[in-house]
Symmetry: C2
Subunit: 107 residues, 2 copies
DNA sequence: AATTAATATTGCAATATTACGATTATACCT
DNA sequence: AGGTATAATCGTAATATTGCAATATTAATT
């Protein structure tokens, strides 16, 4: 990439972009969807379901986890990954605030 | 990238990811915000406002244009880029459908 | 037609992302 | 402790993204 310009974007713009980035891959969209549909979910299940290798899924899970969208807790030998519904709603709100304040039209 | 696995994601998942990708960069978030705030907007204005070079802005504009989020029409020597509000709302709806159907909790 | 202003395109470098095999850690079970 | 199942991490290759300088294109104006 070119020299990272010290372009000043607003914090809101950076936040919206960061959230969008998490959802910018079909696998992560699918993983979140899948997790929300399960009573209890385990990485290996996801591997079977999505059709990517275990390390790749694990990598995607890490990105989702770092964004705070899921919480993992051990349950026997497996980890139960659960949606952080509160955080998920925060994401949705931030998006809608952005969408709702960005709809004026010049033409 | 590794061999592109023929992973089957649903069309909805692919669509959500594609939309998210457009918004996954602060510059594009900022551009959309700026365009929606103007009565009439011109690329060079954006260049001054965002602080990236003209080719870079033009590139981002192309990505936004290809997603159908803005329409450009010539107005004298400049191009007037306008938000496609209808398309923008479609984006928002798709996102909200995704967010609303993906909020169950297992823990 | 030449000039000028505005935007797009090209070419290329730096970096980020995605994917997977191999390996390592973790935790249960015998 | 040793064995087994599950998930994380490491290393690395392929590809995508981002950014800009240089150049080309487009359209109004002289």
């Amino acid at each position: 990439m070119g020299a990272s310009n010290l372009t000043i974007h607003s914090q809101e713009q950076i936040d919206v972009a960061a959230i969008a980035k998490v959802l910018a891959h079909p696998a992560r969209v699918a993983i979140l969807e899948y997790i929300s549909q399960q009573d209890s979910c385990i990485c290996n299940d996801i591997v079977d379901k999505i059709g990517l290798s275990q390390p790749t899924i694990s990598q995607h899970l890490q990105i989702i986890r770092q964004a705070g969208l899921i919480k993992g807790s051990f349950e026997g030998k497996s980890i139960c990954y659960c949606l952080d519904v509160k955080r998920f709603k925060e994401f949705q709100d931030l998006f809608n605030i952005y969408f709702n304040t960005t709809t004026a039209n010049c033409c």
